[in-house]
Each structure stands twice: as C-alpha cells, then as structure tokens.
Symmetry: C2
Subunit: 243 residues, 2 copies
DNA sequence: ATAACAATTGACGTTTCGTCAAAATTTATC
DNA sequence: GATAAATTTTGACGAAACGTCAATTGTTAT
C-alpha cells in the first residue's frame, strides 16, 4: 500500500477520535444531547473541522454504526472458528450476537436509530449502502452455518422452506430482543424474565421442530454454551459478568 | 356520561384534526419535514394552540401512535371473532397484524420511532406508560389464542416453554417484518422475496414443530387465510389489493 | 351590561444547525 | 532558507425550528 503522510494519518486518527467521543457522549448524555457543537468542544477541534469529516450529525452516528458492524462481523468470524456440531456453531453465533449487543450498546442501537424516521432521511445513500453491505456480511455468517448443516445432513429443511427463510427467523428472533430491551418495554409484566434466555428457548424449539440434529434432547447445549464462552469469548464473558 | 360543552367537543375534534394532519404530513413529507410550525400552518391554528394540546412534536407522534394502537387492538378483536380451530384463530391475528401494518404505515412505524434514541427522551413518562399499556392490550390478544389452544388440547408446550415464550417468538417474527421493510434493508438481495409470506412460513414451521394441532400437513391454512380475508377483513383486503 | 375567566395568538428569545470568508498552517518552488 | 501556492482550520454568521408568554380575543357567569 502507498505510505500515508503524517497529515493523512492524523486525519484518520481524528475520525476515530470523533467516533470514540461520540459513543461516549451518547452513552452518557443520550442522543438528544448529542450535537456537533458538543463534539467540537469535547474533541477540542472547531466545528468546521468536524464537518470536514462528516456531513451532519446523523452521519456521525451512521459511521459509528458502520465501525460497530465491522466489530460485530469479527465477533461472528471468531464464533465460526468453533469446532463442534452445526447447532453448536449456530449457538456460538447466537452468543456472539449477545456479546456484541451487550458490549457495544450504542453501536448496536444505532443500527435502527440510523434507519428510523427523521434520521435516515439525512444520511447519504452511500452511507446507507455501506451499512447494508456490512449487514449483509454479518447475516452471511449465519447463512454459512445453515448451509454447512444442510450439506452434512444435520438439517433437512421442509420442502416449502429455503435457507433464507430460516435466516430470517433467526434474525427476527434476535432483533426482537433488542426491541424489547432498548425500548424499555415492560416485558417483565408479561411474565417474560431473562430475554436472552427466552430467545434461546424459542430458537431451540424452532430448530428441534425442523428438526436440526442433534436435537436438544440428545445434546446438552447448556454445556456447549459454557464451552463456547470458555474457548471463544472468555474476555467478553468476564467483562459482562463483571457488569 | 356528563354532557360536553360545544367548546369541549371542539377541543377534542381539534386534537383529532392535528393527528390527522400530522399523519398526512409525515406520510407525504417524511418525519424530517414534520414540525410544529408546519402543523400550525396546515391546521390553520396558531402554534400556541397546538402546544395547548401537545407538549412537543414528539408527543404528537406518540399520540398518533397511541391512537393507532387502539385501531390495532380493534383489528385483533375482530380477528378473535373468527370461528375455527385455534391455529386458524392465530392466523387471523397474523393477518390482522398484516393489515394494520399496511393500512396504517405511519402509525405502525411510529411504534419504534417514539422509542428510538433522541425521540423517547422528549416524551413524558405518562405517554410512554399509556403506550405500553396499549401494547400490552394488543399482545394480550395473542396470549388469549395461545391459552385457548392449550386449554382445548391443540397445543402442548414443551416442558421448558411457557406461553410467554411463544408470544415472544410470535411477536419478534412479526416485528422483524417491519424492520426489514420500513428500514429498506435490501432483503431481496438475500434471496428473500415476499416478507409477509416469509413470516408465515417460519411461523408455520415453528408451530408445526411444537406441535400445535392441526399441523399444516393436515389442514389447508392457505384456504383458511382466504376465508379469514373474506369473512373478517374483506374491506381491508380489497383496499390493499387496490394498492 | 359588565366583570371574571378561559382560550388564542404570533412575536420573541433560545438553541442548534450547517456555511464560508478569513486566518493559520503545511507543502512546493526557486 | 525565503517566498509563493495549496491546504487545512477556524469561529462568527444566517437560517430554521423550538417552545414561551404577554397581549388580545372570545366565552361564561353575575
């Protein structure tokens, strides 16, 4: 690659700084109190310089989201390193999702904030395209596991069902967790306790019903989850356990 | 009930007018171009009068959402009038959801817009509570069907699974449809065609796997869907068919 | 008819946005 | 190393939208 000048490296570093400070600002003060003047103040650059990097504050959030999606993709890639049966591998993906959501809450929530009414209109089509591309990368990791399972015979989909349909189900089930949680919906009043556990339960039922072998009566997936946390995500599990 | 004065009736009517015009404005110009000055202009009242009704523009959206939720609940109540087996009744709920989402897109999307970062902070706890209450009412209609199915023996949940877990799955699956659709995510590139059909397929697989009788191999639910559209939602089906 | 009360108005102060001409800094040329 | 050209940075500025409130208009009660 061509070598970058000091100036160019500075500019790249500053972009990261802006994103770091934005994430912190949003986490601490909420998105309402997040603005360009504030970013300029905290980064100790002028507003004009901030606008050199991002067209508007919504673009800042979008780029925070995009950076996060790369981290998320990396989490999924790590999950795919697990050696085990195909359902264990999907469980690893499930846990990777969980860890990403917990460890990067601002980035995670930004996925839909940038698509919500009043925000999405202000973001360039190019940025939306970049985000969609990465979302597709993330989802593709799920497709990999499903395809593997079909190939090695663990999973035979019903005639009417394509792999994409199952991906959709997997995705929606996980997305729902985000909805209930970050929207502060009083799901506890509905008798729902721990959401992550809930997603796992519904998912397990869906997979057992297909069936996707080995079904949960013939394999201890709770033990598998513990192994995955130990082998693949020890630091993340510790970080979350430490609150 | 105590009789209302002309003035009081006028005030109630004006509130409705503000909501009607807001829905139209958002539908036509997007949420970015939606503001209090604009509402004042279009309703031909002054800004001060608008603020008499709503504390801020976010509250306008929230009340649009709340009004919509009542309509949604009514849709579900109509669905519950269907005579048929328990899975047909759940299918009626599914279709009611679909019709509401299609016929009231602004209200439907507002459900999460009002909970999204930067918006939710500006809305009063009272309004959030009112929304949550109605959301609960809506979800309770789903619980009714599940409870019925358990009671008459159509459905036996696996030992680990509570009715709430199934409700969560049902809900998340439907919510995902909204996500993919209104967020303009390029799901078609993923090989997913018609989303509504997709939700139905995954749901069917989940229910067949439980199993929730009669399973789809023993009953023609496509025919049931047609019957439901004919008997319960003829006007809505026609309205959507007419684009 | 008049007084007390309630509702309505729109001009106004405030905030945040995004811009742009001027100033400062870096890079290129002699 | 001095000077010119190009680039980057700055913050003051106009625009837009928010929410308020004193003054005005309208309604109800005496």
């Amino acid at each position: 690659m061509t070598k970058l000048t000091r100036k160019q490296r500075e500019i790249i570093a500053r972009k990261e700084l802006i994103l770091d400070i934005s994430a912190k600002l949003i986490a601490e003060q909420g998105f309402s109190n997040f603005g360009m003047d504030r970013i300029a103040e905290l980064t100790e650059y002028s507003k004009g310089t901030i606008y050199q990097h991002f067209q508007c504050k919504e673009e800042v959030l979008m780029h925070l989201c995009i950076r996060g999606l790369r981290t998320w993709r990396d989490f999924f890639d790590r999950a795919l390193k697990l050696r085990g049966n195909s359902r264990e591998r999907l469980l690893a993906i499930h846990l990777a999702h969980h860890f990403y959501a917990k460890l990067y809450p601002v980035e995670y929530e930004s996925i839909y904030t940038v698509k919500s009414a009043g925000v999405r209109e202000k973001i360039s089509p190019e940025s939306h395209a970049a985000q969609n591309e990465l979302m597709k990368d993330v989802i593709d990791r799920v497709v990999i596991v499903i395809d593997e399972a079909i190939e090695n015979g663990d999973l035979k989909l019903p005639g009417t069902m394509a792999p994409q349909d199952l991906v959709y189900g997997f995705w929606a089930l996980h997305y729902g967790e985000l909805m209930f949680e970050t929207f502060n919906f009083p799901y506890r009043n509905m008798g729902i306790g721990d959401l992550e556990n809930n997603v796992r339960l519904v998912l397990r039922t869906l997979l057992d019903g297909l069936p996707w072998e080995p079904v949960s009566t013939r394999h201890d997936y709770t033990a598998s989850a513990e192994r995955i946390m130990r082998e693949i995500f020890p630091e993340e599990a510790a970080a979350i356990a430490a609150r």
